[in-house]
Amino acid sequence: MKWLRKIVDSPIAPAIIPIVVLVVWQLLGQLGWISTRILPTPLAVAKAAVKLTLSGELIQYIGSSTMRALIGFGIGGAIGFILGILNGLSHTANRLLDSSVQMVRNVPHLALIPLVIIWFGIGETAKIFLVALGTFFPIYMNTLHGIRSIDPGLIEMAKVYRLQGKDLYRHVIFPGAVSSILVGVRYALGFMWLTLIVSETISSNSGIGYMAMNAREFMRLDVVVLAIIIYALLGKLSDTIAKLLEQKLLQWHPNYSKQ
C-alpha cells in the first residue's frame, strides 16, 4: 500500500482521474463503442482546438466571453459589495432595503431573459445585465453576513481605541468580513459563467456560447465539446484565482495558513 500513499501525496494526484477518463473515452471512441456522431473523441476535440486557435477565432471568442463576464461581475459585484456594506452598517438602510433585495433574489435571474431581451435587445448590454444580476446576490449576501458576524467585542475594542469612520472600516470591518466576502466571490464566479453560457447560447454573434451554438447547426460536435471544456477550464481558472486571493488575504487565519 506504500505506492498508493505515495501517489496520493504526489502533486499529480488530482489529475489522475481526469487523465484516466480521457484515455478511456479516447479508446471507446476509437474502438467504435461510442459513435463519434454522438461524442467525438478527445483527439478530435484537441484537433478542433488547434485549428480554431491557429485561425484566431478561439482566442477572439474567449476574449469576448471573458470581457462580458468581467464587466458583468465588476458591476454586479461592486453594487452587491456596496449595498452589503451599507446594509451591514446602517440599521435604517437594512430595514428599508434588505427585504426588497431578498424578494428579488428569489426570482431566478435567468427567468428574466425574455424581459431582458425586450429591454436591451440581444446586444452586449443584455448579457452584461444578466451577469451583473447573477453575481450581485452572492456578493451582497456574503458581505452582509460577513459584517454581521464580526465579533462585537472587537467593535467595542475599536471604540475604546477611538477607531472611527475610515479607520474603523479599514482596520476592523473590512478585514473582519473578508473571509465571508471571498466565499461570496467564489459563488459569484460560478454564477458568472453559468449566466454567461445561457445568455450567449440564446443570442450572440461572438463568444464561446455562440461558437457552440454555431457548431451545433453544422453538427460539429468536436467544437461543441471544445466549448464545454473551455467553460470548465475558465471556471476552474477563476476558482483558482479566488483561492489564491483567499490565501493572500487570509494569511492570519489558522484555517487557511496551512494550505
Binding site: D151, G153, L154, E156, M157, K159, V160, Y161, R162, L163, H171, V172, P175, G176, V178, Q251, W252, H253, P254, S257
Partner: protein, 260 residues
C-alpha cells in the same frame, strides 16, 4: 480629544477619579444605585463582588462605554462623557484583531501608529520577539500581554481592567499579576481592577471595594508591603474580604471553629 496639552498629560501621573452618587439602570433594572467613591491619583483599586453585582457596569461607566443614569463621574475634575484618549481598558478576552500582527495591534493603541513605540511597548511585556506573529499562534497569556502592551503604549492615565486574567491558568495568572504590578509601579497610572478573585485583589490592590446590591458595601485599605507574599497577613485580608462577600456571620464562624 483632550483639551489639556499633551506634555501635561505625560507629566501628571495618574488620573484622579471621583464618582459622585452615580446610579445606573437598564430599563427598569437598577444595577447601581448610589455609588460614591474617590480614587487618588496613581492608586490601584480592586472592585470585587458576586457576579451580576454591577462591578463591570461601574467599570464601563468609568470607560465612557455607558452613560450614567444619575450622578456624575469626574476625571481630574472633568465629567466623563464618552470615551477618552487617556483611559484604556483591558477586557477578559484579549480582543486583538486576528488579521493584524502583534505589533500592528499595538500600533492601533496610539494616534501616531509608531512602529518603534509599539515595539518598545511589546518589549515591556516581554514579547518583542514575537512582534511579527499572528495573534492566533500565541497562547492566551501572551495574547493578554499584547493587549496590555496595546493599552499602555499611549501612556494612559487611567487603566481599567475587566477581569483580564479570569481566563488564564493559575501560573500564567501569577506572572501576569507581577507584570501588571511592575508596570503600574513604574508608570503610576491610576488602575481599577474588576475581579471575582479575592486573592488577586489582595495581591495587587492598594484598596479593595466590595459592591453589593448596587452599593458599596465595604471599602478596605490593603496595608501590605510590596511585592506581596502570600503569608499570614495576606490571608487575613483575604479571609476578611471573603467572609464579608459570603456574609459569613460571626456566629457561623465560631460554629465552624467548634465543629473542627
Amino acid at each position: 480629544m483632550s483639551h489639556s496639552p499633551q506634555g501635561a498629560i505625560k507629566e501628571a501621573k495618574g488620573a484622579y477619579v471621583s464618582i459622585d452618587s452615580v446610579g445606573k439602570s437598564f430599563g427598569d433594572k437598577q444595577v447601581l444605585s448610589d455609588i460614591n467613591l474617590s480614587i487618588a491619583s496613581g492608586q490601584f483599586v480592586a472592585i470585587v463582588g458576586r457576579s451580576g453585582c454591577g462591578k463591570s457596569t461601574l467599570l464601563r461607566l468609568l470607560a465612557g462605554l455607558e452613560e450614567v443614569s444619575s450622578g456624575e463621574i469626574l476625571l481630574d475634575g472633568i465629567a466623563v462623557n464618552g470615551i477618552r484618549e487617556d483611559t484604556r481598558m483591558l477586557f477578559q478576552d484579549a480582543r486583538l484583531l486576528p488579521w493584524k500582527r502583534c505589533v500592528e495591534n499595538v500600533q492601533l493603541g496610539m494616534k501616531s501608529r509608531s512602529y518603534e513605540q509599539a515595539l518598545a511597548s511589546l518589549e515591556q511585556v516581554g514579547l518583542h520577539e514575537r512582534a511579527n506573529e499572528w495573534p492566533s499562534v500565541l497562547s492566551g497569556g501572551q495574547r493578554q500581554r499584547v493587549s496590555l502592551a496595546r493599552a499602555l503604549v499611549s501612556s494612559p492615565r487611567l487603566l481599567l481592567l475587566d477581569e483580564p486574567l479570569g481566563a488564564l491558568d493559575a501560573l500564567t495568572r501569577i506572572d501576569m499579576q507581577n507584570l501588571i504590578e511592575n508596570l503600574w509601579l513604574e508608570q503610576k497610572f491610576t488602575t481599577v481592577l474588576v475581579t471575582h478573585d479575592v486573592d488577586e485583589a489582595v495581591a495587587l490592590a492598594d484598596r479593595v471595594i466590595l459592591i453589593e446590591n448596587g452599593l458599596i458595601a465595604f471599602d478596605i485599605q490593603i496595608t501590605l508591603a510590596r511585592p506581596r507574599e502570600r503569608n499570614n497577613d495576606f490571608i487575613y485580608f483575604e479571609k476578611l474580604i471573603l467572609d464579608r462577600i459570603l456574609q459569613r456571620g460571626e456566629h457561623e464562624q465560631q460554629d465552624k471553629v467548634y465543629a473542627i
